[in-house]
Each structure stands twice: as C-alpha cells, then as structure tokens.
Subunit: 410 residues, 2 copies
C-alpha cells in the first residue's frame, strides 16, 4: 500500500492545500460526503449572521434594494457561471433542482412544439424522471423514452421526433461522465435541444456550457459548491433561447415589471423569466459565502486534484481491497469526483466506516459511494479512508450491527 | 389628538408588551413594514448559527436524519397549523407562495376534473393570476374568471362549471378581509373547491382553516410570521383530499419511499405529496426560531391587539390628517392588520416618512400601506407614526425630493 508519507508529500506540494483552511471540518472525520452535502465554509456562519443582523434586522424591508436582495438570483448565478462555463446573464439561482428541471423541460418542449418525445436516462437520479411524470400530467401526449448509459444507445434513439434530450453530466451513483458536447451535437443534428443536469458535476469536473452549446441546464449548489443543506439550485438558459423561452411557473419575480403589479404576466427580457417567487435570502447568504471561496481557486487545479484523489483511491482499493469492486469508470475523463464501490454488504460497510469517522453514503442496492471534494480533502484522507475500509472488511462488523435503519439522503 | 401619555398607558397594560423583547428593532425606527417583511427575532441569529455550526458543520450529511432535517417541512407546518386553525399533518413548509399556488390549483383542478372554470380576484396580488396564466399554458381549456371585492359578485359567479374559487383572505393593498367560511360554503354548495391565499392574514387575524372547511390554502412566512426575507412558504391541504390529491411538481421529496430511488413516482400518503425538492434548511432554522416565539403568545390577544392598533391609527388619521383617505374597511372584522391610506403624493409620503424613521411602503397607484404587527408594535408607535405623517403633510417634502427611484418590494 502507498505509504502515508507518500500522500503527505503529495499534500505538501498541493497548490490547493490552503483552500482546506477555508472550511470547518470536524476533528477525526474523513469526510467523503461532499458530493451529497458540501462542507461548511469557515466564513459562512459569520456571513449569514451579518445578513441576518444587518440586512434583515437593521435594514428591514429596505434591504430588497439597499442590500441588493432583488439582484441576488442573477448575481449568484453569474458567480456560478464561471464554474460551469457560462457567460453572465444566463444563470439564475432559486427554487430546487427538481423545480428547475420542470421549468426547463417545459421551456424546451415549448420551443420544439411540434415534437413529442423526451429522451432521458433510465438510471438517472429518479427525481428527473418524477418531474417528467409531473410534466406528463398536463401534457399527456409527451412520450418519455429512456435509454441506458451507453452513448451509442442514446445516439440510436435520437431522431426528428425528439424535442429534448435530458442527461446527467455525471451519474449520481456510478460516477459515469457523459460527453456533453457530443450529446449536444447529436441533439442539434436532429433538431432537438440538449438539457443537462449538473448536480454531480458542477464544482467537481470541467463544465463548459457555452462552449458545448448546451441549451438548458440545472444544477445543485449544496454538493460540491458547498452552499449549505438544501441551498437553492441553479438554472442555465442559453442566451439564444432567452427571448422566446417560456415556463409555466410564471410568478412575479420573473415578471418584466414586477412592481407595476399588473394583472397580465409579461416575462422579464432575460434569464429572470425563469424566476418565480421570493427566494430565501438567508440561505442565499450561505451560498454566496461558499461561492466567494470558489472565486479564490484555480479551477483547472481543482479538477485535476479531484481526478488525482479518485485515481489514488481506486489504485488503493484495487491493491488492498480486492473483494470490493470499483464500479466507476477507471479513466478520469469518464467519471466525476466520486467513486462507487460495490459489495454485497455495502450498507453495513458505510455504517462501519462512519463509526470510524469515514463518512460516505450508501446507494441502493449495493453501492458504497465516496465523494472526493478536492477543495478540502487531502491525499492522506484517501489513504486513511482505504485503511479504514480494509479494517472494516477484515472485521465484518455488519454481522453484529442493526442494518435496518434508513440510509441518509443523497 | 390622543395624547402620547394615553398610548403609554395602553402599552403599560398590554399583555403582549413582553413579546416586543423577543425582537430586535433598530433604534429610532417605527417599523410599519412587518406586513411585508417581519422583524428579526432576538433569538434568530443564534439559532441559525447553531444550525450552521452544529447541524451542518459538525453533523454534516448525517443531519438529514440526526437533526431531523427530513421531517422539518411537516414539523414546521404543524407549528404553523396552530396559527391558522389546522390540525397536524395538513401543512408542509417549502417552496414559494407562487409555486405553492401552482401546486394547489392543479390539485384542485384534478379533483374537479369535469369542470373548467377557476374564479379568482381581479385585485388580488398579481402573482396569483400569473400562476393561473402559467397553469393555462398547459391546460388551455381552463377558463379563469375574475371578480371584484364585493361578496355578492363572487356569489353570483359561482355555478356548477366552477372547479375552484381562489381568494385572498386579506387583500394585500386595501386590507379588505373576506369571510372565508362563507366563501367555502358558497363554493361547496356548487360542488367547487375553496382555495385561500393567507399571505396577508396568517399571524395577523384569526384563521380557522379546518373549521371553515377550506380545501387548500397557501401562505407566506416572511410577513407576520417573521421567518426572514424570502423564507419558504406553506401549503395546506385538508385531510379529506390528501388521499386523492395530486400535483405536477412531483419531486423526490414528495415520494412515498424516496430512498428506494425507484423510477416510478408514487406520492407520499399524506401532505408530504405536496413537497418537491430539497428545502433550504438554513432558512428553515430562522423560520423555526420565529415560530417558537409564536408558540409563547396567546393568539386571541395578538389578533385583538392588532385590531386595536389599527383602530387607533384610523382614528388618529381621521382626526389629524383629513387630507388622507382611509381606504381600508373601518370595521375591524372586515380588514387585516394593515391599513391603506390614499393620497396623490403617496410615494413621496412613504419616502418622507422613512426619512423620519417611520417605515411603511408604497403600492401603486396612490397607496401608503402601513402594517401594524401586534407582536412587536406599541400604541406609542402608532401615535408617533401619525405625528410624523402630520409633519410630512405640512412640510410637503415631495416638492423637492426625487420620486423616481423604484419602490420597495411587497
């Protein structure tokens, strides 16, 4: 096994080592759940307190203008834009990822009004499919067709009946990464739109929405972006669609002139038309603090380190834990920044690792999912995690633990 | 004019005087914007910090279960239930008021599938109408008919073609209060459903959703409930509808077994089926702190004080400011806890009052809107506010101020 001292040497020359100081991590914990809930930033609690005490407490209702609350959905969206390759004015923050999927898929269907087919992924995070079911409640003519992970299967399924292709950039379970540029090219070649769910890729791997000509995208801010539990999601709409795009959650925050309080809805001219109601400003404060940390780092270095951490983990698991199957792609370019390990006692392993301070999560039916958030993890954390895994495999504690409790949330 | 000493005497024997200590209000400010953004609770910043540092920072992803995050939408909903007369298990907190209107109106339309007409109010807060427009994007057969404030006009418009009646309990501008029990009885007599928007009544006046047989309701938590800027809204669904009600924002948080991550959506058995995606837990912490203050007060005393404050304001305006028209109902039972004052220089008056530390807001075209949140306002605040209004009317500062800036948000 790679000596811990080798990992320490890698950490010592890591250009991102200082970024770890911007986070608060509990003592004795190797946190491999950052792909599910990102760690707390060191500046976040203070920033939120300032928003609460100064902007809300002192500024009161005048802070909608005075503290820029009204502009936050776009301002935070532009900060995220840098992380996902989107020029300003194409991203808003607000609502949940699920709600945003609903908005963009309606918008895509409207823009391709003569087409009825939506292609989606059979193995995607289920809420994508649940939202498509919701769309079909009022658009029953829509035909949702599901494809597997093989790019050839997707390629074979796109034709002139397809309105939109909805794919996840990185699969929540397997970590498989789609070539989104290829998906967009394929969709466009058949006159369809490309919609991308970035939940498990934003902040984990390179994303270039503009360059890849993605039409719409949604993403999560509470995973690698570290916005806090349940922090509002983001929504990308390419500039070329913003004049004509419409969506049914047409609340007053998306109105062209919300303060005139007219009876007729008129969508705002740009990306704001994807807003709906008032956003949670206290949650926004935590997200803004997290995004400020992102502004201080070199993205290429972050993504390279994420791949190096995963490479190290895969190498060590292969070497030390042969009874565990690495169920994620072995090529860095084909995966995200988390790893799926398969074992029939996956749930017991996750619990036993947690008892040793190594926090990962379990995914049905047999996956130990370990996230390697490059902003705050070190190479030694990977070594320690695999060492703990080896111990757990040797001790087989699931033989005596209660495995009936509910697993944690994604 | 009522002497300030009389108001001081009223404050001295106010059973709610102690509640003011649970809030942080800026020095020298008479805050009459609590109907727009409620004041900050004294315990809120600390509570939010604890959620951030302990639940997020230390507990990390395990807090979804360990800190009860998964249960918060219903737990907070039950706390709100006491304030609006709803037995437990019928309210969830999450998403915005606008999004929740979308959910409940779709649900109501599905439950009355053979009917096409929705009755709504011409003068309601416009987002209600915007969301109905959004619904019509995918249900173009729906016919939205608008009625004025007169109850007789509503009564004359309900017939067997009406699926649902959507009314605001208290009008956001005029403060006019509907008799919701009568609306529900009327709707039910014609086989229609009654849907109520409580944005300007929850925490301001008595609400008895169960007793009045309301079918669905939505409400705002950042006004009288003091949940913080943009804090998530609530949604009520009467128990009798929860088995059959469906809504199209069918995200994984509303699934019966979200952790099985199956491909098919199956709605949760109770009110949880109205949830969609992950809620903002940091914002929830602020709301929970505010709701804990509500648990300490006698609701009847709160609502009685609100009416007494409004009565005092109306009396003083009539007496001292005859050039201002009281545009709200004069009977306490017919209005909420805010007052609309009409004057052609309304916008200039609002700005000049703010410069004197009296914070209200402007509503198009000519309304000075003053909210009297009974939890933290005193009778002397009312006297001081009217004195400032008298000064402003005498000095006519709008003759020299720039009135072009954008007004504040509701």
């Amino acid at each position: 096994m790679t000596a811990r001292s080798d990992a320490e040497a890698l950490d010592a020359r890591d250009p991102l080592l200082g970024a770890r100081d911007r986070f608060v991590l509990p003592d004795g914990v190797v946190y491999l759940g950052g792909n599910s809930l990102g760690a707390l930033g060191a500046a976040t609690a203070t920033r939120v307190a300032a928003t609460i005490e100064r902007e809300w407490g002192d500024g009161l209702v005048a802070s909608w203008n005075g503290a820029g609350w009204w502009e936050k959905p776009v301002a935070l969206g532009d900060m995220i834009g840098r992380l996902v390759g989107a020029a300003p004015g194409q991203i808003v923050v607000g609502d949940s990822t699920s709600v945003n999927i609903y908005k963009v898929m309606h918008a895509a269907l409207d823009l391709r009004g003569d087409r009825r087919v939506v292609l989606a992924e059979r193995e995607c995070f289920p809420t994508d499919l649940y939202m498509l079911e919701g769309i079909r409640r009022t658009r029953p003519a829509i035909d949702v067709r599901l494809v597997g992970p093989d790019p050839d299967e997707l390629a074979g399924a796109v034709d002139a009946s397809v309105a939109a292709v909805l794919v996840n950039h990185v699969d929540y379970r397997s970590s498989r990464r789609r070539d989104i540029r290829a998906v967009a090219d394929l969709a466009h070649a058949h006159g369809a739109l490309a919609v991308c769910d970035l939940a498990h890729s934003a902040g984990a791997v390179e994303v270039a929405l503009d360059e890849w000509s993605v039409d719409f995208a949604v993403g999560c801010t509470y995973k690698y972006l570290n916005g806090g539990p349940g922090s509002p999601a983001f929504l990308y709409g390419a500039t070329r669609h913003l004049r004509d795009a419409a969506q049914p959650l047409s609340g007053w925050h998306g109105h062209a002139r919300p303060f005139e309080l007219t009876g007729e809805y008129e969508p705002a001219p740009g990306i704001r038309r994807f807003l709906c109601g008032s956003p949670p400003l206290v949650a926004f404060a935590a997200l803004e603090s997290a995004l400020e940390t992102w502004e201080t780092v070199d993205l290429a270095a972050v993504f390279a380190k994420g791949q190096a951490l995963v490479d190290l983990l895969v190498t060590l698991v292969d070497e030390c834990c042969p009874e565990v199957e690495v169920a994620s792609p072995r090529e860095a370019a084909d995966r995200g920044s988390h790893v799926a390990l398969r074992h029939r006692h996956a749930y017991g392993i996750v619990r036993a690792l947690a008892a040793r301070g190594v926090v990962g999560d379990f995914r049905e039916p047999d996956v130990v999912r370990l996230g390697l958030a490059p902003l705050y993890l070190r190479y030694v954390d990977v070594v320690d995690a695999v060492e703990a895994l080896r111990e757990v495999l040797d001790e087989e504690p699931w033989r005596r633990t209660d495995e009936g409790a509910r697993p944690t949330v994604t």
